[in-house]
């Protein structure tokens, strides 16, 4: 039970912690690098975490009703929709941070709102799964202690990895850190797009596609390194053709946008 709890909670916490770290670094560095850019106020992060926690509790509470939607594939569809919204908001947020098209006040508001959606939806999605898992375990008191210990250990690992990633990025020369942060955000977006494909496939909204490779012999997803790679670059030991396609398509879509390319080029100066 302990190991199961660690793997499940780590999968959820690690992804959220790493995303939060990268967003914090990118925000901070864009603020230093572009005079036109502006760091999103810390209150947005606080509000997003609070909203996300409340959203997680709400989602966990509503799960019985939710699971009956769309011919009993409600959770998959809702999760896929949330994930898609996170990808879109993440992309818009990054562009807004150094956009000169809007008035500063309006841009700050939109950047804050998109950040709120990214973090709050992410925390709500991942948090609700943890809450449902713990709730399910409550029925078997003997498993409670291993599960709580596993949750604690996984949370510790996830948060620590997030903190270390933050300081590692901050320690880099700012231009390198900014580019690394942007690459990671693009990879996050690709990972999330792949997850959307997986969820829609599970809900039978997309046809099953063949598995492209099986690297579980080299690195299983059920290890800490596998989880770390999953959270960072969306590593899957047995990805389907559609997932890999979605991953690459999302990344290409973002990279080919003129605004993104302009932002990338301007980091040199």
């Amino acid at each position: 039970m302990f190991l199961d709890a660690v793997i499940l909670v780590l999968q959820e916490v690690l992804e959220a912690a790493l995303l939060l770290s990268v967003l914090l670094v990118v925000n901070q560095l864009l603020d230093q690098h572009f005079t036109s850019s502006h760091r999103v106020a810390m209150r947005w992060y606080g509000a997003a975490l609070l909203t996300g926690t409340a959203g997680a509790a709400l989602m966990a509470w509503a799960m019985p009703a939710l699971s009956q939607w769309f011919d009993y594939v409600g959770p998959e569809i809702v999760n896929a929709f949330m994930q898609l919204l996170i990808v879109v908001c993440l992309y818009v947020h990054c562009l807004l941070l150094q956009s000169t098209l809007l008035q500063r006040r309006r841009r700050d508001l939109y950047a804050g709102l998109t950040l709120l959606v990214v973090i709050a939806f992410g925390v709500a999605r991942e948090g609700s799964e943890i809450l449902l898992y713990i709730d399910g375990i409550m029925g078997t008191p003997a498993s409670l202690m291993p599960v709580l210990l596993g949750t604690g250990v996984a949370t510790g690992i996830g948060v620590s990895a997030g903190v270390l990633l933050y300081y590692a990025l901050v320690a880099l020369p700012s231009l390198v850190a900014l580019r690394t942060g942007m690459v990671l955000l693009v990879l996050f977006a690709g990972n999330m797009a792949a997850q959307v494909i997986l969820l829609l496939t599970q809900a039978n909204w997309l046809p099953y596609s063949p598995v492209l490779w099986d690297s579980s012999g080299l690195l299983t997803e059920f290890s800490v390194s596998g989880q770390l790679l999953y959270a960072l670059v969306g590593y899957e030991a047995t990805p389907s053709l559609a997932q890999v396609g979605g991953y690459i398509a999302a990344m290409l879509l973002i990279i080919s946008t003129p605004l993104f390319r302009r932002c990338w080029r301007s980091i040199r100066s």
Binding site: L3, L149, G152, V153, V159, S160, V163, L164, Y167, V224
Partner: protein, 435 residues
Amino acid sequence: MTSIRRFLLAGVLAALTLFSFIAPLRGYRSSMAEVETLFDAHLLDASKLVANLDMARITRQSQLGDNLAFQVWEDGKLLAASSQAPSDHMAPLQQGFDFANFDGYRWRTYSWFDESTQRWIMAAERTDQRFALAENVVLETVLPILLGIPVTGLLIWLIVSQGLKPLTQLSSDLQKKPAHDLSELPLRATPKELVPVVNAVNGLIHRLGAALEREKRLSADAAHELRTPITALKIQLHNLAQEVDAGSESFRQLEQGVERMGHLVEQLMSLYRTSPEQFTADCTDIDLHALAQELVARMYPLFEARQQTLELLGKRCMMRGEPFALETLLANLLTNASKYTPLGGRVQVNVEAGDAVVVLKVQDNGAGISAEDKARIFERFYRVDRSSNAGPGCGLGLTIVQHVAALHQATVSVHASEFGSGAAFTVIFPALMET
């Protein structure tokens, strides 16, 4: 990095947590396997124990603990069994360990054939209970690590705070250093990592002191050396007035030029005298109102010549200060007010006691000061050409005012006068505490 303390605490704690938590995870599987081996050995021992039991006393309902099931077979007949055991063979008739499902659970079984009694002995333990027990044993080692993290965090916080103490102390020493104190920072008990910083700061203080000394000496020497020729020039000018037409434009301009030069030298001397290094222990208890009264009386002819009204309001206000410096401050404010107020204008001096402060206010009904000028009027040699009436000046008057105010821990501010037009200068001094 916005805070060294936060960086050290978060960074060290995160690294420690990450590796302390990953280590038991890596050891979890091997520990579980080790505990399983121990349980297997225990199961084997239990099966030997069953073989040694007195079969006559064992019934179908016998129990050897909740977790242990057993069967004893002889010639295909069930000789004895525990209550949880099924009626048929709970494991294949094959020596060794295996798994089996009965009584609603999964069991780990061990079977062996006793040659001496020609009986098959089978013992079994529930896998879920074995797993839970094994996990508890392993988790007993994880729990202290998990609980230890907050304590470790607190310890790191205390250690980092202790480590940063010399830096905090250095910062506090630098902040507490008065503006005129250019003495070096002491090096005693400074950690070796901070010695280069203290040395660099001391070097900077030394260079600053030398630069200030050079500037002070240059100003003082120049002013002093210029005083004598200017006095001689004035005498010569007075003599010249007897010989040439003193009313001519050229003579008047020459006279004004010499006057301006004399004023500049006097102001430079005042600036030197009131610089922090010269502000010695000449401070005494002063009634600022009395000082103002004396100076207003002395300067009255200047205002009278310009047909200006000069008023003094207020009452006795005691404060601690250097009389000559305070006189210079007020004289400069009054000269400025008269200079920038038109003929027939009004200048008011007010000395009042506030809440633990003494407020000196000099206001006029002149042209006032633009917002742009307000930001710069205290700069050296900055002059405001507020009106064509402005007489001779060198742009040092308000710099001296600010210097004197700073020496007395006072603040100077400039704002609109209460007369509708004009400027008001307010100097707020700390009052003398009555004991």
